[in-house]
């Protein structure tokens, strides 16, 4: 009896500790959320209030209009969806080549793809900007997404996943006269739901969160993406209009959090094998 009581108190203590730490970890988001619903005079009252007196939505409306968030969010959403599907498609195809085929230069090509892990955006950004501009793609969606479309990680992870699907399946498919492309689309892909979902989430967020490349390649207001919107909030809001700035920041982070919570299980698996990423 005494042991179980001690055990209970122990567990209670750990729960309390974890709840306190959880609040500290989430504090930046929670306080931003709180401030985003406060009018200016409440934000600057002393002591600062933790909870809004009433829900004040003007900050959201003002932030939305100030930096044209509708356009920025649509741009981000569009680019992220393209990158998500594009990367997945290219990764599935190349991963399949490395998992199910024997061919000359297989090892060399595989190494050549993996080597690109070592070339993050930042080490090639200067010539990449020159190159994409010379193609006439500066300030376009194509220029924005093209450099993100292929990745070593997606290829590598798809290969790893396809290798776990038994070889006998391919042999029997061959005997039934099923060609390599039909095998991929009718057997391998339907068997890969969770792996595809995980990579899709990670790849969506890679584009959604990208900042340096959009900042460099996009220059007109109607092409900019949501992360640039965060910076624009700081440069265009009247000084210290924290309610508005935090409201805008919350709008930009909501899709990130929704995508993360929806696909958390896959996301964690997806990054657990992630290499160098921009």
């Amino acid at each position: 009896m005494r042991k179980s009581r001690k055990d209970f108190l122990n567990k209670l203590f750990i729960h309390l500790l974890l709840i306190v730490i959880s609040f500290i970890v989430l504090m930046p988001i929670l306080l931003a959320l709180s401030v985003s619903f406060q009018p200016r005079d409440q934000i600057f009252s002393y002591p600062p209030s933790l909870i809004p007196e009433r829900l004040y939505f003007d900050n959201y409306i003002n932030a939305w209009n100030l930096v044209n968030l509708d356009r920025l969010l649509l741009n981000s959403l569009f680019a992220s969806i393209i990158v998500m599907f594009g990367k997945l498609a290219l990764g599935v195809l190349s991963g399949y080549a490395f998992s199910h085929f024997e061919f000359k230069y297989k090892k060399t090509l595989f190494f050549a793809i993996l080597f690109t892990l070592m070339l993050p955006m930042q080490v090639r950004v200067v010539p990449l900007f020159v190159f994409v501009s010379n193609l006439g793609l500066a300030n376009t969606y194509s220029g924005l997404v093209l450099p993100f479309l292929a990745s070593a990680t997606t290829t590598f992870l798809m290969r790893q996943h396809f290798l776990t699907i038994p070889k006998s399946l391919m042999e029997s498919a061959q005997l039934d006269g099923c060609g390599p492309f039909r095998f991929l689309f009718q057997i391998l892909i339907p068997l890969s739901g969770p792996a595809l979902a995980g990579l899709a989430t990670v790849n969506f967020l890679v584009m959604w969160n990208a900042y340096l490349w959009p900042l460099i390649i996009l220059n007109s207001d109607e092409m900019k993406v949501a992360q640039q919107g965060v910076k624009m909030l700081f440069t265009s809001a009247s000084e210290r209009d924290w309610g508005l700035i935090m409201a805008g920041t919350i709008i930009v982070v909501i899709p990130t959090i929704i995508v993360f919570l929806l696909a958390q299980k896959f996301f964690v698996k997806g990054i657990a094998t992630q290499g160098i990423k921009e």
Partner: protein, 295 residues
């Protein structure tokens, strides 16, 4: 009827790889090679004039006190961020590595900051640390009666970007530490307890050494994160200031490229970063091959 054999489709694998290879060649390999070439030229701002200048860009960089200071500053930034970040993440990982009802909720909460972008992370922290309406100074004032000029004082601005970076990368570290902790068999802990070891001894003598492969991997990944991905945090929080106090290498590169328009000089900085990545990756591979023996 001829039997289907995938080896007979000898061109299929090349066709499958082709789209990836095209993108990687044009958008990854080619620009990297161009970085190296461009770094050997002096470029006129705005103009297309390029003059071959050998290693001048590199010599200029390494003799420039601003760049050298940035190099030292980045090293300190990386060291403090990694040491602080890994220590906090390890403690939190041990806490959420318990068999407890609802533990998954805490794990989810600890992972969330990693999904958030550097820009958003920077924005949240700028607010928290601002001296007038921010809550951090209010609590510090309440508890210790101090007011810290977070973003206007060089030293504290440097600390501020470290805090935001640690917060943002914590989730990544916890995911890996947690995986590492879960691969340590319970029997190891049990026998240590039977031998009379207390929790702290177990943590120091068993958990930490057995986690060293994970820790090493995380150090490598964190070097890359802090060197390259802190750009968004710095650009939102301090723009490299005040007085260059937070001007880390990646921010200096951006400045030389888009503020000063010195493309050759910026390319040389890219190449220096590339060499850094290659060194780090070399250590990584060396470690991985050792890790196999270790297992």
């Amino acid at each position: 009827m001829k039997e289907q054999d995938y080896d007979s489709h000898f061109s299929v694998p090349y066709l499958l790889i082709l789209p990836s290879m095209i993108i990687l060649t044009f958008f990854l390999y080619w620009p990297t090679v161009q970085s190296v070439i461009l770094s050997l030229y002096r470029t006129a701002p705005f103009g297309s004039r390029k003059i071959y200048s050998g290693f001048d860009n590199y010599i200029n960089l390494f003799t420039d006190p601003t760049y050298r200071a940035s190099l030292v500053r980045t090293s300190v930034f990386v060291l403090v961020t990694i040491f602080g970040g890994l220590a906090i993440s390890l403690i939190l990982s041990v806490l959420v590595n318990q068999k407890l009802k609802g533990i998954k909720i805490y794990r989810t909460i600890f992972f969330i900051p990693y999904a958030i972008s550097p820009t958003v992370s920077g924005s949240l922290w700028v607010f928290l640390l601002n001296p007038v309406a921010g809550h951090i100074n209010y609590f510090l004032d309440l508890l210790f009666n101090i007011q810290i000029p977070w973003l206007t004082n060089g030293f504290f601005a440097f600390i501020a970007i470290i805090i935001a970076t640690i917060w943002k990368n914590m989730g990544f570290n916890i995911i890996f530490f947690l995986a590492g902790l879960q691969s340590i068999p319970d029997s190891v802990y049990e026998s240590a307890r039977i031998d009379g070891a207390n929790s702290f001894q177990i943590f120091r003598k068993i958990t930490v050494p057995l986690l060293s492969p994970t820790t090493f991997y995380l150090i490598i990944m964190n070097i890359i994160f802090t060197v390259f991905q802190s750009f968004g945090i710095v650009d939102i929080m301090t723009q490299g200031g005040p007085a260059d106090a937070t001007n880390i290498l990646i921010y200096q590169l951006y400045r030389d490229m888009f503020v000063n328009f010195r493309l050759g000089l910026a390319a040389a900085q890219s190449v220096i970063l590339l060499i850094l990545v290659l060194i780090v990756t070399f250590f990584h591979f060396k470690f991985v091959s050792k890790g196999v023996h270790y297992q």
